[in-house]
């Protein structure tokens, strides 16, 4: 009963427009006052949610991404992607997806991808004669590759929640990320052929080689991070700081587009973004703690397993729930609250925590591109100056691709677990 009050007050506050972090805080506060628990528990749970050496890699990865971005890496990745696939029909759309895959290795969030790549690609696509809703749809759907390909903020959160290796999770995301990218490109190509979207002249190999070296240093960062963590050279936190120093050196001395004067502001901005995420994590930690004390995880597990014990149906039910939650709920808050609730269910049908972590993140981020609350959809539509409804219609085929990839990843464990198994 009391748990119902917790959920309802949270949903009401969130839809009223109170920031999601504070909606979690306020509903937890209300609950704790009613059940008469000493309120010192609130700062205590927030503190223990933030006091983690692993979460410490979040500001590092955000800063490294922002430094790379200020250092002119976005344009270089886009140029490289366009030089490689631009001559194919609908090439600019394909390059948009390819850039998202490259950019995914620098940023850890989908929204960063939508904003940086969309700002360059959507106007360029419109100018070449692509429909604006199509341009916005390609941008927002391909940006969901960002949180799957390492480094990834949601996967770092999963790592802390499930006490599994961040390195394994990062590696497990690589193949699903590639699958998603290739699938979206195939769909984009099919649509382009049907609508007769333009293609560009084929670029000479010399120029492609040149633009490859432009993007090379950025792509190398992903390799260094992965190799460093998996090879046991550094912890994820250390890897994030190594990435910061690497991005500084590349931006200041190799690309020379980053000016030293800009650095203090980028450091501050990155930490402020981190703070808003960590406060959210802190409150979600409190909210999740209340759920556990109300024995909600057991209730949810019993309910789902009471409907069916068929492993395939159980996984489908969990995915449906996650897709639904993802449409309106912020990804990180949903992860912190629901991962501990659903992991026992997934484990009961034999899913590995690493495998389930990837499935959960994939299912939740698909919601970033759908109404009613999809930040990538909103940002891409506003850059393209098209209505959210028009973008949504153009999104349907891409959404279909994402769902197919999600089901493949969910039911073929090897897609996620093959690469990590090589390192055991």
């Amino acid at each position: 009963m009391m748990a119902l009050l917790l959920f309802l007050s949270f949903l009401v506050l969130m839809f009223l427009g109170v920031p999601i972090a504070f909606s979690l805080g306020l509903s937890s506060l209300l609950y704790l006052i009613i059940v008469d628990v000493p309120l010192t528990i609130i700062p205590q749970r927030m503190f223990s949610g933030i006091n983690s050496f692993v979460l410490l890699c979040i500001p590092g990865f955000i800063l490294a991404g922002n430094l790379m971005n200020a250092g002119g890496i976005t344009e270089r990745i886009i140029k490289f992607a366009n030089d490689v696939v631009g001559h194919i029909r609908g090439g600019l759309g394909l390059a948009n997806i390819g850039s998202s895959m490259g950019f995914a290795g620098i940023s850890g969030t989908a929204l960063a991808d939508t904003a940086s790549i969309g700002a360059v690609m959507i106007p360029a696509m419109k100018k070449e004669g692509y429909d604006a809703p199509y341009a916005a749809a390609v941008t927002s759907s391909s940006s969901t590759i960002g949180p799957i390909i390492p480094p990834s903020l949601p996967l770092i959160i999963v790592g802390t929640l499930a006490s599994v290796s961040i390195g394994d999770l990062f590696l497990a995301g690589a193949i699903p990320g590639l699958l998603l990218g290739i699938g979206l490109m195939m769909m984009a190509y099919a649509i382009s052929v049907k609508r007769g979207y333009p293609k560009q002249a084929r670029k000479p190999v010399k120029e492609i080689t040149k633009s490859f070296f432009g993007a090379f240093w950025a792509l190398l960062m992903t390799v260094i991070i992965l190799y460093g963590i998996l090879g046991g050279f550094f912890t994820p936190t250390e890897a994030s700081i190594v990435a910061v120093i690497y991005a500084l050196i590349i931006g200041l001395f190799v690309y020379k587009d980053l000016k030293f004067k800009q650095v203090p502001k980028i450091i501050l901005d990155s930490m402020i973004s981190t703070a808003s995420i960590l406060i959210l994590v802190g409150f979600a930690n409190l909210f999740g703690y209340i759920l556990v004390s109300e024995q909600i995880p057991i209730l949810v597990a019993d309910t789902i397993l009471g409907i069916t014990e068929n492993p395939i149906l159980v996984i489908l039910l969990v995915i449906l729930l996650l897709l639904f939650v993802g449409t309106f709920m912020e990804t990180i808050a949903a992860l912190v609250i629901l991962f501990p609730v659903l992991l026992p269910v997934a484990a009961s049908v034999g899913m590995d925590p690493v495998h389930f972590g990837i499935v959960m993140v994939l299912a939740l981020i698909i919601g970033l591109t759908t109404p009613p609350v999809g930040v990538c959809l909103f940002v891409a539509s506003s850059i393209g100056k098209v209505s959210i409804w028009d973008t949504t219609k153009a999104l349907v085929p891409f959404l279909f691709v994402s769902l197919v990839v999600l089901l493949l990843v969910a039911f073929i464990p090897e897609i996620t677990l093959f690469l990590p198994s090589l390192f055991d």
Binding site: F15, L26, L29, L39, I42, I241, M271, S276, I279
Partner: protein, 158 residues
């Protein structure tokens, strides 16, 4: 509004310094991997710097409206009531941050007498971070309400 500028600036400097501190200490930690000596206190120090970086940064995130919220009800409200509605949601934030800041003080007291494992710092210093942060989040919520109505009046005159 001079004292507020000073508050913004102080928080910005503290946030950036804590983060720079993290970068320096973690770099040292990586470096000691290749040196003949090692430092046991780096892990603890970075965690505490991080907690303070978050605590000083969160009020600034509040000021910049970086906390994600869902705004379709707000957009559906007629423009002239929008400021009252915003003030109402900010008021809820003020109530919450007030409560948590108050109990954050007791949380700080809980840390008295406890000392951290490797650096031997009294934990009340570290525990104070949450209370300070929530107090300042509340302060920025008050400022945002003030700004809503003061800038609106300016708009009317113009």
């Amino acid at each position: 509004m001079k004292p507020l500028k000073l508050l913004d600036r102080t928080l910005e400097v503290l946030t950036a310094l804590c983060f720079i501190g993290i970068i320096v200490v973690v770099s040292m930690q990586v470096a000691t991997r290749f040196l003949p000596f090692s430092a046991v206190w780096t892990e603890e120090l970075t965690r505490y710097l991080f907690i303070f970086a978050v605590s000083f940064g969160a009020p600034l995130a509040m000021k910049r409206q970086e906390f994600i919220s869902i705004d379709f009800i707000l957009n559906a409200i007629p423009a002239k009531f929008r400021n009252y509605y915003k003030a109402f949601t900010q008021l809820l934030v003020i109530v919450m941050s007030g409560y948590i800041a108050y109990y954050g003080y007791y949380f700080m007291l809980l840390g008295q007498g406890q000392r951290s494992a490797t650096m031997n710092i009294e934990m009340s210093w570290i525990h104070a971070s949450i209370g300070i942060s929530m107090l300042l989040i509340g302060v920025y919520a008050v400022i945002s309400i003030y700004d809503l109505f003061v800038s609106r009046k300016r708009g009317d005159q113009a």
